[in-house]
Symmetry: C2
Subunit: 141 residues, 2 copies
Amino acid sequence: MITNIEKRCLDQGIKMTEQRRVIARVFAEAKDHPDVEEVYRRASLLDDRISIATVYRTVRLFEEAGVLERHDFRDGRARYEKISDEGQHDHLIDVKTGKIIEFQSDEIDRIRKEIAEKMGFRLIGHTLALYGVPLASKESE
Amino acid sequence: MITNIEKRCLDQGIKMTEQRRVIARVFAEAKDHPDVEEVYRRASLLDDRISIATVYRTVRLFEEAGVLERHDFRDGRARYEKISDEGQHDHLIDVKTGKIIEFQSDEIDRIRKEIAEKMGFRLIGHTLALYGVPLASKESE
DNA sequence: TTACGTGCAAAAGGTTTGCAATAAC
DNA sequence: GTTATTGCAAACCTTTTGCACGTAA
């Protein structure tokens, strides 16, 4: 069975190797935002002939092809997730636990675009992450 | 003459050394978003008894004290700027030139806070960077 | 077949840290 | 005088890369 991500890669003219197929599958099945080490771990379970250098090369390739999105959540390594058909979302990070929660806001999407255009730019990407603590929690920082 | 940043550090109970004063001065005078190498370069012009390790230690200290803000603009190193009294701004990066342009939007400030609270969090920080190309420019990516 | 992808290990680039010397309070 | 800070160099961690080998089309 061919994953949606693999299809997207083929559309982009990316030559599919066994390693790339495996990494595509990892992201097709992921519901979170794994870093490269974690992708390597999961890929190795499916096929142990994969090296971490290939994972690095592949996530970069997929990112440049618009198949994956890279995130920086201030923990020192890049995290990746697939770009889904149903539009993108942003993230809120619970700084107490590190948990990453997705959200989507049409209003923010609109304003971002408006601001960029008002400044004379066409928006081609963005980074938005909110960092918060649970409202119930009383710790000051 | 004592800089505003130095005053802020003293308020936070930070012990001021000559090196820290020099680094505070660099940020007091900066109108941009220097990385550590650049801070080190500017600080060295004012006082050549400074090491880059101290710059790393000091920007971290200042960041934790709420005196500096750290940014990641996808170029592989951290950039810093002072937190000014007149409220914060966000950034738009011209991906053709790397130029960083500041902007401020009360509407975005409001929505960010609303979203976090609606999700059950008190917002304590955020990252927002827009990446764009000049509207005049016709390149596709 | 032929260009492209891979694994390995080494290197790069940014950042942190152990330690002995130094300076602040 | 005591404790924190500094400079130096080594270590760290993530990511990239050179090269010989392997593989997809």
